[in-house]
């Protein structure tokens, strides 16, 4: 009973807090640009509106066009639920759940790309191609980061392995994971969520033809993914394991906000790089994780 309630609470946290982050980011960007900008809760309004809108489906599209976003959304949610929330821990934890998390995100990617290709639009094909291709490099970085964590902790389950080491390793890991976060969530400098030049977009261009509830699922899923990565990043580098519950939760929330603000600042201070330089950035992130790994390895050996 308790467990069920706790599970529902956890679900609620993920479902309802996630859309906050894009709002915060946009606020920060607006503030830097000296505008008032949209309200923080803007995404909530959009989602609500979309949920009641009708759907326009391409004549080429198969039922997969609707199923794709749904599956992707569930996949991200499931991945999120695997992630422990600092002191609250996690409701489901087993050896190797971290691999399941990574591959759930892959499932989400598969479905988004699939849905994008349903329409036969050249633009969306382009977006899908970029998404899956850059994921190859991002995947390497993520695996390395996870390998680092598991080497530090000697464990393969998220609840145990998020015990960061203080020192240069943590810093390297933090920077690397932050880069991965930007890439995976299609933020500047990898992608520009609110450009209007389709040729230069990755994620946004994939969902061009979505509308109504499916689009809502896509947007909400993206928000959850962002939250997921920031939570992961925070727990990977902040040693909040040994703090008291209250302090820990505080640190968590603070950390997540910090990450969000950082994203906002990056977006407003840097420009999107040319596509041919994206691999370079991702490789850099990968190398950062590799160095972190080496440090962790030495640490473990010593």
């Amino acid at each position: 009973m308790i467990s069920i309630l706790e599970f529902l609470a956890r679900l609620a946290v993920w479902l309802f807090l996630a859309p906050l982050l894009p709002g915060v980011i946009n606020k920060v960007k607006a503030w830097v640009a000296g505008r008032r900008g949209p309200p923080v809760l803007q995404l909530y309004y959009d989602l609500a509106r979309l949920w009641h809108k009708g759907v326009v489906v391409s004549t080429f599209a198969s039922p997969g066009f609707i199923a794709g976003p749904a599956v992707a959304w569930v996949a991200v949610l499931a991945a999120a639920l695997l992630l422990p929330l600092g002191p609250l821990g996690t409701s489901l934890s087993f050896r190797g759940d971290v691999i399941l998390l990574i591959y759930l995100l892959a499932l989400a990617r598969f479905c988004t790309a699939w849905a994008a290709l349903e329409t036969g639009s050249a633009f969306e094909g382009m977006g899908a191609a970029r998404e899956v291709s850059y994921a190859v490099l991002a995947e390497a970085a993520v695996i390395t980061a996870v390998l680092t964590l598991s080497m530090q902790s000697g464990s393969v389950s998220l609840s145990a392995m998020l015990t960061p080491s203080v020192g240069p390793g943590a810093v390297l890991l933090a920077v690397g994971l932050f880069a991965v976060l930007l890439a995976e969530n299609c933020r500047v400098p990898f992608d520009d969520p609110n450009t209007h030049l389709e040729l230069t977009m990755i994620h946004e261009v994939m969902v061009l033809d979505h509308s109504g509830p499916p689009l809502a699922a896509v947007l909400h899923g993206a928000a959850m993914k962002l939250l997921l990565f920031s939570v992961l990043l925070v727990q990977a580098v902040l040693p909040i394991g040994e703090l008291s519950v209250a302090a820990a939760s505080g640190a968590m929330i603070g950390g997540v906000l910090l990450v969000t603000v950082a994203v906002g600042f990056t977006e407003s201070l840097t420009a999107r790089v040319a596509f041919r330089r994206v691999p370079l950035l991702l490789t850099t992130a990968f190398l950062l994780c590799v160095f972190a790994l080496l440090i962790a390895w030495k640490g473990g050996a010593a």
Partner: protein, 648 residues
């Protein structure tokens, strides 16, 4: 006793099937199915804890008494042979019927039963001589199956390449088995871990079996053979036949003492095969070639598991080695199932449209919904996406890798790169299969053939459904097969007493169940929500472009261009591009060809060198009698010199 009868029955039925194949399709089908079913029964009897079956003939064949044995390891592969063998037989009835292939259908049936029989015998033989016989017979029947459509030049070329490569491997096995026989003094096979001097033989076996297993530098025969063979043949070749090479490796790495570097080398080969196989697969434009290269990739995954296991045994039978081995074994089944499924799917596409060229297809889901959904299912499974079976086996391998890395021993030097390679492979495979299924089945039909496609019949659909069902079972109840796996593990390394399935595996099973359920629910829910809100069909918006044509869609080539560009150093794509010129450009075209790098850049030159030598020798024999007498004198002199310096 019962086992004797069962296996004898299976063999007799398959032989009878081979004999009846030419004339009586129905009888053949019945016999083949009965035979494979019997084999399956024996396999599961053994896997389910039945005593190891061991039988010696009273008579001798080729100077040796026949010695058959069925232990858990053989049974594990035998089950795969039986399943795909039976399924393919059913599929062939719809895919390669007499009415469409009067010349070759009967031949195809005969050799099919022969192939299944010989592969089973390879798994059963416990005598080097008979193992070799069964091995070569299996290779030959595979050759005749590949060249069923021998009128086509490229089919003949592919068949010859396969035969040549496989014979090279077989000669390697000649050396392997005769060395074994000379060192142990008999052709009998069995555990011989105590003969330390046998360790170097592992390298010979690695070559001999590696050719068949299609691991990376030795995979040259695989793509063209799989692409040009009839699809049910490609299915059994890729799903089962290459596993025979793997069986040899597993079998003899279990029986022989191992050289120091074995684990490292196998791990490295596995990593290379996995990454490059996936990269090549992504770059292909021919649907079946793509699937073929993906087999290289999956063999790589399995070899990674095997390599980790070998490292584990070298470091005192560690638990992580065991996990990785379990993953590898499970992946053997998984890959067998979904690769066969995918080739069947590709076959029905080929059957419906007559082309394997992906850039000529597209939008097939409307014409062939069954095939489309089954192919999509297979693609998701082979991309190791949860909650499907491909993920379970890769997950086990990952666990092994992570634990090994966490063990902080020096093996981590090899483990860490392998882990990263496996991750990259996963992402590449995903890209490849998004490309394959989307370009073929989604969007708008690119050519007329794609427009006029038709769904395949039940003969072809049923086996696909069965295989998909097997995948689903393996995905949702992985813990159920653990007892089998643990028996195989004990057979491979007696130190590894099987024991219970790891708790996390059971949890993963439940998670998969929950996940599958919620995925379905969510999809349906969203569908209904959209229905209630009202669904309007409209042209793809496509940024407001008014007249989209099918030719404007993203092609497979352009889809893969970005990622395969990073592997240009090994893919070496050959591009021919005519830019559109002038104010009213006439024609502009772009042709891209992905060469078989190893074959064309490595084997080719060597072959040319040999042919130069051959031409030189031919030049020496131009029919002039005096020259011939001169050679006689030269031989006299040479032999004289040899004797002179020999006798001193």
């Amino acid at each position: 006793m019962m086992m004797d009868w069962l296996i004898a029955g299976a063999v007799i039925m398959l032989v009878a099937a081979a004999l009846s194949g030419a004339r009586f399709p129905r009888v053949w089908l019945a016999l083949t199915l009965a035979g494979t079913a019997t084999l399956l029964a024996t396999a599961f009897w053994t896997l389910g804890g039945g005593a190891e079956w061991d039988w010696r003939s009273s008579f001798a064949v080729g100077g040796e008494r026949i010695h058959l044995r069925l232990d858990a390891l053989s049974a594990w592969f035998l089950a795969l042979v039986a399943v795909v063998g039976g399924g393919g037989a059913v599929y062939a009835r719809g895919y390669w019927p007499d009415c469409e292939h009067p010349a070759s259908a009967g031949r195809g049936r005969t050799w099919w039963s022969m192939l299944v029989l010989c592969m089973s015998l390879v798994l059963l033989c416990a005598n080097g001589l008979h193992f070799l016989m069964a091995w070569e017979a299996f290779a030959l029947s595979a050759f005749f199956l590949i060249t069923l459509e021998r009128e086509r030049r490229e089919t003949r070329a592919a068949g010859w390449l396969y035969l040549a490569a496989s014979h090279a491997g077989t000669l390697g096995l000649f050396a392997f088995f005769s060395l074994l026989a000379t060192k142990t003094g008999s052709w009998e096979l069995g555990p011989m871990r105590d003969h330390a001097e046998l360790a170097p033989l592992f390298w010979v076996a690695l070559f001999g079996f590696g050719v068949k297993a299609g691991m990376f530098p030795l995979h040259i025969w695989l793509p063209s053979a799989h692409a040009n063979a009839p699809s049910h043949v490609s299915a059994i070749m890729s799903g089962v036949a290459i596993k025979m090479g793997l069986y040899g490796l597993v079998r003899f790495s279990g029986w022989l003492p191992l050289p120091a570097g074995a684990g490292w080398v196998v791990l490295a080969l596995g990593a290379v095969s996995a990454v490059l196989g996936a990269a090549f697969a992504l770059a292909q434009n021919d649907l079946k070639r793509l699937l073929a290269y993906c087999s290289v990739e999956n063999m790589g995954v399995i070899l990674i598991g095997l390599g980790v296991a070998l490292l584990g045994t070298a470091n005192g039978d560690t638990a992580w080695g065991r996990l990785a081995m379990a993953g590898a074994l499970l992946h053997v089944w998984n890959h067998g199932a979904f690769k066969a499924l995918l080739f069947f799917g590709a076959g029905s596409v080929l059957h419906a449209t007559g082309t394997r060229e992906m850039s000529r297809l597209g939008g097939l889901w409307r014409a062939m919904p069954w095939t489309a959904s089954l192919f999509a299912f297979g693609s998701a499974a082979i991309s190791a996406l949860p909650p499907l079976n491909g993920f379970v086996s890769e997950w086990l391998v990952y666990l092994g890798l992570f634990d090994a890395a966490a063990s902080h021993t020096r093996v981590a030097v090899a483990i860490v790169p392998a882990t990263i390679a496996l991750g990259v492979t996963g992402a590449l495979a995903l890209a490849g299969f998004v490309k394959a299924s989307a370009v073929v089945f989604l969007g708008a039909p690119r050519t007329q053939v794609a427009v006029h496609a038709h769904e395949c019949g039940w003969w072809m659909r049923a086996p696909m459904l069965a295989l998909a069902g097997i995948c689903a079972c393996l995905a949702l109840a992985p813990a159920a097969v653990w007892p089998f796996i643990s028996r195989v593990l004990v057979g491979w390394r007696s130190a590894w007493s099987g024991g219970k399935p790891p708790a996390s595996l059971i949890t993963l099973g439940y998670t998969h169940l929950a996940l599958a359920a919620s995925l379905t629910v969510a999809a349906i829910a969203l569908w209904f929500r959209s229905r209630t809100n009202g669904v309007r069909r409209a042209l793809t918006w496509d940024c407001g472009y008014a007249l989209p044509t099918a030719r404007m869609q993203y092609t497979g080539g352009s889809f893969a261009a970005l990622a395969s560009g990073w592997f240009g150093w090994v893919l070496r794509p050959e591009r021919r591009l005519h830019w559109p010129r002038g104010p009213f450009p006439r024609q502009a075209d772009f042709v891209e060809r992905i060469p078989e790098t190893v074959l064309e850049r490595v084997i080719g030159p060597v072959g040319d060198a040999v042919m130069v030598a051959s031409a030189w020798v031919r030049q020496r024999q131009q029919g002039s009698l005096p020259d011939y007498i001169l050679y006689l004198v030269a031989a006299l002199a040479a032999m004289g010199a040899l004797v002179l310096f020999g006798s001193i």
